[in-house]
């Protein structure tokens, strides 16, 4: 969808509300070092899950200092997290004093479970206490587009407002979608957000999908490692401000990175070999659309989150795509961030931009032993390294979803 262009799409602002706090530098440091904030989720949260589950939960969240009081009581945590990360990203992009013209500003949000708990509670209340007992103010919260809608009202964004629910690929797909809006002249600035929350019903869905640990829950989320027992659920929101390079330069904005290309594909067959072929096709297509080859890639921010079959597929795909440079550095940052599902792609991209800005290859904590019978990834390390990015600082970011989609984005240092 994005081709080499005279007017590249660039990143000018980043924001995050995560278990690692509200500060991007702090988030980058945590991702680099492979910090650990996981905790055993309490009984209320794990009420519908078999056995104990660890997660990366945001503790002590108070939206008021960042967002004020107005309207907060009507929003679920997902909407609050998204508003928080987006306000921070817009500030970072230099829109602190004055927001863009509403007709120039669009919102694209990736989320899967923003409304899951609300829907369940809404219907349950209606059938047990009667339909008059449900709250009219909660009505919009039963819809997945609620966080994006609140955000549009908050920042006055009228150019477009799209919510994407594409599992673990949604965050990267939201970036692809947003770049298309900019390329087609449908917006001048886009806030691209990803958000998920952890609650008992989200964990219920994850558990039924067989992605949470059935035993040794402490070993959840060890990307690519033989001992990993499932994904480490995470919550929070990341946001990225995108615009065309000419507009960024014209207003004197600091350019953090260029989004070079996006693509996606689908494979129904769940076998790691078939999924690997799909993911490899996606990676190769994305590079081709950016006018690049695998040899141009200097770092891979992988999507592996500790689910055995998915990690195996990605290891196979990376070995296939990078056959000509098998030691390309690889970081699986979900070992630190956790699996933030619809927000993961945004957090991966924030991590990639951090690597470019700070010339550090993030750690893949917990990585010791590759899975048996799966080709090892030569360029992965359990601790951070300096990154001597010699060329353009080209980073390939990849994701695959349990239902069969795979997506990739290529970014590089600003010219």
């Amino acid at each position: 969808m994005l081709h080499k262009s005279d007017d590249p799409i660039v990143v000018t602002g980043l924001g995050a509300v995560s278990p690692y706090g509200l500060d991007i530098e702090q988030l980058w440091s945590s991702i680099e070092s492979g910090a650990n904030v996981r905790s055993l989720l309490d009984e209320e949260l794990s009420a519908h899950v078999q056995g104990p589950v660890y997660g990366n939960k945001i503790e002590g969240w108070d939206p008021v200092p960042l967002l004020g009081k107005k309207g907060m009581q009507f929003m679920k945590p997902s909407a609050q997290y998204l508003l928080g990360s987006s306000v921070l990203a817009l500030k970072g992009a230099g829109f602190e004093e004055e927001l863009p013209n509403p007709d120039d500003l669009a919102v694209v949000v990736s989320t899967n479970h923003a409304c899951t708990q609300v829907r369940i509670d809404y219907d349950y209340t209606a059938i047990t206490d009667g339909p008059k007992s449900v709250s009219p103010m909660d009505a919009p919260n039963t819809l997945t587009n609620a966080p994006a809608s609140y955000l549009a009202i908050r920042i006055q964004s009228r150019a477009a407002n799209t919510t994407i629910a594409n599992g673990q690929c949604g965050g990267l797909d939201a970036l692809g979608y947003a770049c298309n809006l900019l390329r087609k002249g449908r917006a001048k600035y886009v806030v691209v957000g990803g958000v998920e929350e952890i609650n008992s019903r989200v964990l219920w869905v994850y558990d039924n999908a067989n992605v949470l640990s059935k035993q040794s829950p402490e070993n959840a989320g060890k990307s690519f490692d033989e001992s990993s027992t499932g994904w480490l659920p995470s919550e929070g929101s990341g946001a990225i401000v995108l615009e065309r390079q000419s507009d960024a330069l014209a207003r004197g904005a600091k350019i953090l990175a260029e989004i070079v290309s996006w693509s996606s594909s689908f494979v129904a067959d769940p076998s790691p070999e078939k999924r690997a072929a799909g993911l490899a096709r996606t990676m190769n297509n994305t590079l081709r659309l950016g006018g690049l080859t695998a040899d141009d890639v200097e770092l891979v921010i992988a999507g592996a989150s500790g689910v055995r079959e998915q990690d195996a597929a990605e290891a196979i795909a990376l070995n296939s795509v990078f056959a000509s440079q098998p030691d390309v550095p690889v970081s699986a940052v979900k070992a630190t961030i956790g699996e933030c599902y619809g927000a993961s792609g945004i957090f991966q991209t924030i991590a990639a931009i951090g690597a470019i800005q700070r010339s550090v290859i993030p750690a893949t904590p917990g990585y010791e032993t590759p899975q048996e019978a799966v080709p090892a990834i030569a360029g992965i390390r359990s601790s951070a390294r300096a990154w001597n990015n010699k060329q353009d600082g080209t980073v390939l970011i990849s994701a695959q979803d349990i239902f069969g989609a795979s997506s990739a984005v290529v970014i590089r240092s600003a010219v």
């Binding site: 039963t142 009228r158 629910a165 129904a268």
Partner: protein, 407 residues
């Protein structure tokens, strides 16, 4: 050169019938497909009517998916997609599986899983199959369509509520325009939902008997179910294989009211922005539009603000261009609505016939005047603007046109 987009396959399941022939026949006759809802106990609500798909079982269309592990919204989407693909005569394997994309929209997603589980909680016995719960995420709907039909191009879910069908169509058209795929199965789906009924009931937005878009005495909308998927195809490819081309997709417009979580902007600001943007994308002016397929939900607020937006864009022509909302016949099929309306628009173009707005007797001075009342009328249809609005201020409009092979 920009590629042009042909609509070459239509699949629909609706409260007025399934399969585009039955659907179109009942549409032209002004058949009302809403009635007392049977899928769940409506006695707890103030109103009781809605629209259900009763003439077809979506499960019977599934060849790859296991119906027992497939929630109804997904079943409806996959069935509509299979109908559209078969209608188009396109062979995905010959084209190349990775050259076919999928994009589906929804309002309530796989809500039957939520409601079935709540029934189990109340009754105190039973359990849902793990794979049914695992398939609850909305991403499964589009993934299941791709799985059912073997499409391996980009596959996306856009849960942009009641405008979702048009969002999906728009994204599919850009995938083709930009050469990422050559064909795309795009549309929307929503199963009848007690939770959705509860939402509209609590907002006081439901009509007791029938849905009466643009009528002076309209009392609200009606919660319904349905699905439609259309096959978009690169025009040159469609022509070269001799496909039936119902219509051309000429452009789209997106906007957001940024006004209120559930109420439309009082002057229809976002709607006007999106219509303007869609016409510009299609390279057309408002004077060239032959027919407006309205969102027309039958609520006081929607139909009046939509009329304001139409007046704003079309000026003096606003009361001359024929306008219909087919929701009078089938109620509001939520995320499917604009996709079903795209099927109706494609057929209106092909057959030079305007679908009616039923239950229409007295004009509302606050609304546009040239409503096509109660019966279909023959009328040349060259260009259609089809509107879709949603909670959250999400707005997507598409522009369709007569096919001109020579151009």
């Amino acid at each position: 050169m920009t590629r042009r987009i042909a609509i070459t396959g239509l699949g629909v399941l609706s409260p007025i019938g399934s399969g585009h022939d039955v659907f179109w026949g009942n549409l032209c006759e002004g058949h009302v497909g809403t009635a007392r809802i049977e899928a769940f106990d409506v006695s707890i609500f103030d109103t009781h009517n809605g629209g259900e798909v009763r003439d077809a079982d979506p499960r019977s269309y599934l060849k790859q998916l296991n119906p027992a592990e497939t929630p109804r919204t997904t079943q409806l989407a996959a069935a509509a997609a299979r109908m559209a693909l078969e209608d188009s005569g396109l062979n995905i394997d010959e084209l190349g599986a990775d050259r076919v994309g999928v994009c589906i929209g929804t309002t309530m997603g796989n809500i039957s899983v939520v409601e079935d589980n709540n029934d189990i909680r109340v009754e105190g016995t039973g359990a849902l199959a793990a794979n049914l719960v695992a398939h609850m995420p909305e991403a499964y709907i589009s993934a299941a369509v791709a799985t059912e039909l073997g499409a391996e191009g980009p596959c996306l879910m856009v849960p942009t509520a009641c405008a979702a069908g048009n969002y999906a169509i728009s994204w599919g058209s850009d995938l083709i325009r930009d050469g990422l795929v050559d064909a795309a199965l795009v549309g929307g789906s929503d199963a009848i939902s007690r939770a959705c009924y509860s939402v509209f009931n609590r907002l006081g937005a439901l009509a007791p008997e029938v849905c009466q878009p643009f009528e002076k005495n309209r009392k609200g909308t009606m919660v319904s179910e349905g699905a439609a998927v259309i096959l978009l195809e690169d025009m040159d490819h469609a022509i070269s294989r001799g496909a039936t081309i119902y219509a051309e997709l000429l452009g789209y417009g997106l906007a957001c009211d940024a006004h209120h979580p559930t109420a439309p902007h009082p002057q229809g600001m976002g709607a006007a922005l999106a219509i303007n943007s869609g016409l510009a994308d299609a390279g057309l002016t408002s004077g060239q539009v032959s027919y407006i397929s309205a969102h027309g939900t039958g609520t006081k607020a929607n139909d009046a603000t939509e009329s304001q937006a139409i007046r704003n864009i079309f000026g003096e022509l606003a009361d001359e261009i024929p306008v219909s909302s087919i929701k009078g016949m089938m109620g509001h099929t939520m995320g499917a609505a604009s996709a079903i309306e795209a099927v109706a628009c494609s057929l209106a173009i092909q057959k030079s016939m305007l679908p009616p707005t039923v239950n229409y007797e007295e004009a509302d001075p606050e609304c546009v005047k040239n409503i096509v009342p109660n019966k279909a009328v023959e009328h040349p249809v060259k260009i259609i603007v089809s509107n879709a609005f949603a909670f959250g201020g999400n707005i997507s409009i598409i522009v369709l046109g007569e096919v001109n092979h020579v151009a």
